[in-house]
Symmetry: C2
Subunit: 220 residues, 2 copies
C-alpha cells in the first residue's frame, strides 16, 4: 500500500479536481490541502510551484513535487496505472491519448477559463470579449462532437485519462454561461459530446468528486 499523495487544491477551481478524479479512478490514496487563492502567488507556496497555481502534488513514495495538471496526470498513469487501465502502451493509441490531453490543456481549459473570466470576474463588461470566448467554447463542443461520431470514448474502446481530463471544465458550463447556458442546447447541437459527457458524469469516481467539490465549495 502506497503512502498518500498530497494534493494541493482549491475549492472551486476545476484543474485540481481533474487530478482528484484520476486519483480516484486509479484508487491511489491521497489527502487534499485546500489553498486560498491569496496564498498561491507568494512564499511558501511559490517554492512548491513558481507558477503560483494549483494543482501541485507531493508524492512521498517517489519524493516528487510536480505541478501542471496534464503533467501530473501523465506522472500518475506512468507510476500507478501499471496495467494501463486508463491509457495505452501501444502506438499510435498512447500518442492519441497525449494529443487529447494536450487539447484539453491548451484548447479547452484556457478558453473555458477566459470565458469564465469575462462573464464573471473582469472589471468591466466587455460583450465582444465575452462573445469571443463563448464562440471558442462552442468550437470545443463542435470538435469533441465531431471526434466522437460513432464512438463512446476519444481513443479506442475504453475510457482513458484523455476523456476524464475534460469533465471538470465541462461541469463549469452553467457557471460560465449563466443565463445563456440554456441557449447552448447541448443535447440537440452536440449529441455525441452530450452523451459522452453524460457517460463521464455517471462514473462513480466522477460522481464522488462532484460531491466533494460541492461540499468543499460550501465550506471554504
Amino acid at each position: 500500500m502506497s503512502k498518500p499523495i498530497t494534493l494541493y487544491s482549491h475549492a472551486t477551481g476545476p484543474n485540481p479536481w481533474k487530478v482528484a478524479i484520476i486519483l480516484e479512478e486509479l484508487k491511489v490514496p491521497y489527502t487534499t490541502k485546500f489553498m486560498d487563492m491569496a496564498d498561491l502567488k507568494k512564499p511558501p507556496f511559490e517554492a512548491l510551484c513558481p507558477n503560483g497555481r494549483v494543482p501541485v502534488i507531493e508524492d512521498p513514495n517517489t519524493g516528487i513535487t510536480l505541478w501542471e495538471s496534464g503533467a501530473i496526470i501523465e506522472y500518475l498513469v506512468q507510476t500507478y496505472d501499471t496495467k494501463a487501465a486508463f491509457t495505452y502502451t501501444s502506438s499510435p493509441e498512447r500518442f492519441y491519448v497525449s494529443q487529447w490531453l494536450h487539447f484539453q490543456m491548451s484548447g479547452q481549459g484556457p478558453y473555458f477559463g477566459q470565458g469564465a473570466w469575462f462573464s464573471r470576474f473582469h472589471e468591466e463588461s466587455l460583450p465582444s470579449a465575452k462573445k469571443r470566448y463563448f464562440d471558442q467554447i462552442k468550437r470545443v463542443f463542435y470538435v469533441l462532437n465531431k471526434a466522437l461520431e460513432g464512438k463512446q470514448w476519444l481513443v479506442g474502446e475504453k475510457c482513458t485519462v484523455a476523456d476524464l481530463s475534460f469533465v471538470t471544465w465541462d461541469m463549469m458550463v452553467p457557471f460560465i454561461f449563466g443565463d445563456d447556458a440554456g441557449s447552448l442546447e447541448l443535447e440537440k447541437n452536440y449529441p455525441n459530446y452530450f452523451a459522452w459527457n453524460k457517460r463521464l458524469l455517471e462514473r462513480p469516481a466522477v460522481k464522488k468528486i462532484a460531491k466533494d467539490k460541492t461540499e468543499a465549495s460550501a465550506s471554504h
Copy 2:
C-alpha cells in the same frame, strides 16, 4: 534513413515552427506544407485534424497522423530521440520536462496568443482586455525567470524539448507588444529569462527556423 515526415504548417503561426525546431534538432527529415488559415476549418483538412489548426504531422514511417504541438513533440522524442539527447528517461527529470512542456502549452501559448489577439486582431480596442493579457505574459516571464535562477536550462544540465518549446512564442513578443515592447525591459527585469532565451536563439536549429519563418512570412 527514415522517410520525411509531412509537417502541416502556417507561415506566421508560432506553434508549427515549434515542431519544426524539434525536427531540426533531432535531424529528422521533413517536408513542410504551408496552409492558408481559410482552409483549416473545413474539409479536407478537418479530416486530418478536427480542431482545424496546425501543426499536424503525418509520419510515413509509422503511419501516424497527429496534432497538438505538445503531443507531437512527445511523439517525436519518444520515436526519434532514442538516446534521449533532448529529454530524460530518468525520474523525476522526465516528469519535469513534461511539467514545463505543459506549462508552455497551457500557460505560455494561450496567454501570448490572447495578447496578440487583443493587441492586433480584435474587432474593437479593449484596453482592459489587452492589459489583462500583457500582465499575464509578464507573469510568464516572472515564472520562467524565477525557475531559471542559477540555472542554464529548465531541467537538469542540458537543453531539452521543454526549453525549446517556448522560443517561437517568445519570438512573437515584439509583434504582440508593438510600441510597448521596449517598456518590458526584459534584460533588466527578467535577466535569467533573457539570458536563457538568448541561449536558445543562438542554437543553429533555432536560427535556421527563424530564417525559414522570415522567408515563409515574406512569400506566403
